[in-house]
Symmetry: C2
Subunit: 253 residues, 2 copies
């Protein structure tokens, strides 16, 4: 029901740490950002681990990420969790075909976050009016779908090493697409191993083993929330990326 539930105060200080790290993400140019500027919506800043939307509740709007990382997930009866997508600045999260049905997912802030909450009435108006804004909204949804297909392929048909490598690869592409630089060797990576595993269908323990292997192969390094791609070619190779075309293709990630 409630839009914002603040979790233990401890999160605030951790969030402050992340705050500085997230700065360069503000350069994201994805369509969602414009939308949240151009339409009346509630802008909120929340601490890391804040639950924004809760599975089973009723909600009358969607979320546009403006700063930080967010996470959309689902919990099974026995507590297993499936992460559906991570939301970076510009991403739109939480639209549904039937706004009257209870939520089939939860949304929570991974880091300290700023986001816009756009009521469905506004979303409907954007679509009714058409134009550039409707296209942007459609495009944002389309990016989510691409992302979901990637995650599905990772979970369904790649082994742990391939899946983790592919996830890191496409995450770095997303970071790049939102940054000014052509390539970004090192970037903020606030996810823990459980969150990664819950997206890819692995356990935290096995994500750990897999990341250790990638590190020992000299492909990536990961320390204190900073991820560095040491050997982009090797990463792409393991991820099974075909380099047949210049990599301007498929920046969808």
């Amino acid at each position: 029901m409630s839009i914002v539930k603040i979790l233990p105060k401890s999160a605030d200080t951790a969030a402050a740490l992340h705050d500085a790290r997230q700065e360069h993400l503000s350069g994201w140019t994805r369509g969602g950002l414009d939308l949240s500027d151009r339409f009346p919506s509630e802008i909120r800043s929340v601490a890391a681990r804040t639950e924004i939307l809760t599975e089973g509740d009723f909600s009358d709007g969607m979320v546009i990420v403006r700063r930080g990382w967010m996470m959309q997930y689902r919990i099974l009866e026995d507590g297993r969790r499936q992460v559906l997508q991570f939301g970076l600045p510009g991403d739109v999260i939480g639209y549904r075909a039937d706004p009257a049905a209870p939520l089939s997912f939860s949304v929570e802030a991974v880091t300290e976050c700023e986001f816009a909450f756009v009521p469905f009435s506004i979303a409907r108006r954007i679509l009714r009016q058409g134009g550039r804004d409707a296209q942007r909204l459609f495009e944002a949804l389309s990016l989510s779908l691409d992302s979901a297909f990637d995650a599905l392929t990772d979970a369904g048909r790649r082994n742990a090493l391939e899946a983790v490598a592919h996830f890191i690869w496409r995450t770095s592409r997303r970071i790049e697409s939102g940054s000014d630089e052509e390539t970004v060797a090192e970037f903020d990576f606030p996810l823990n191993q459980e969150q990664i595993g819950d997206l890819l269908g692995l356990t935290a323990v096995h994500v750990c083993r897999t990341l250790c292997k990638l590190k020992s192969l000299g492909v990536v390094s990961l320390c204190r929330g900073k991820l560095r791609v040491e050997d982009p070619a090797a990463l792409a190779e393991i991820a099974g990326i075909c380099e047949t075309h210049p990599d301007e293709w498929s920046i969808a990630g």
Copy 2:
């Protein structure tokens, strides 16, 4: 490149068989059907197994299914296949955020099919004009996303029995939502075990074992392309569906 490639002639006769079976699907009321009626698009009928779009090719449009089952999938370098979604009448398949990039998936007809091919120029126009049509297009995309999230959860966090049960459950819900009747105990189910496995991240052999178990438990029966849910409660139980609310909720499938 080519929009339509006809495969071995043998498929035609098999398709004719399916033809009659698919009849009742024409009752689908999903938004995509209206769209394909209201806008200039190329309507095509193809035999089962016809490849409509090919990964890596360039295509300037999207597909709206009107009759039959279609399938969107991706092939990894070594031949592993991940099915991304099955398209039933009314579903929209093949939109992308960047229409200029080569396709990251293929689309093929599972059964004999009729579909509309809508050029992106039309799609853009629909969004630019706004109104009910833009909403319908958005809603269709949103249904795809729901469907992808379901498949992701099946592949990532459910075991084989749960995943297959859940897939059958939501497929029957989709069939119901497109039919006139309240509940549909038996319906046409043209997928083979390899196709099911390629959606859920299983092998055909293991899908076989799993289906056999579901049959021996008396939950479903499946014979000659007809699937019958013998024990809906048991199916929902295995699928992990919480029956806390009347089941009008979450018909997204």
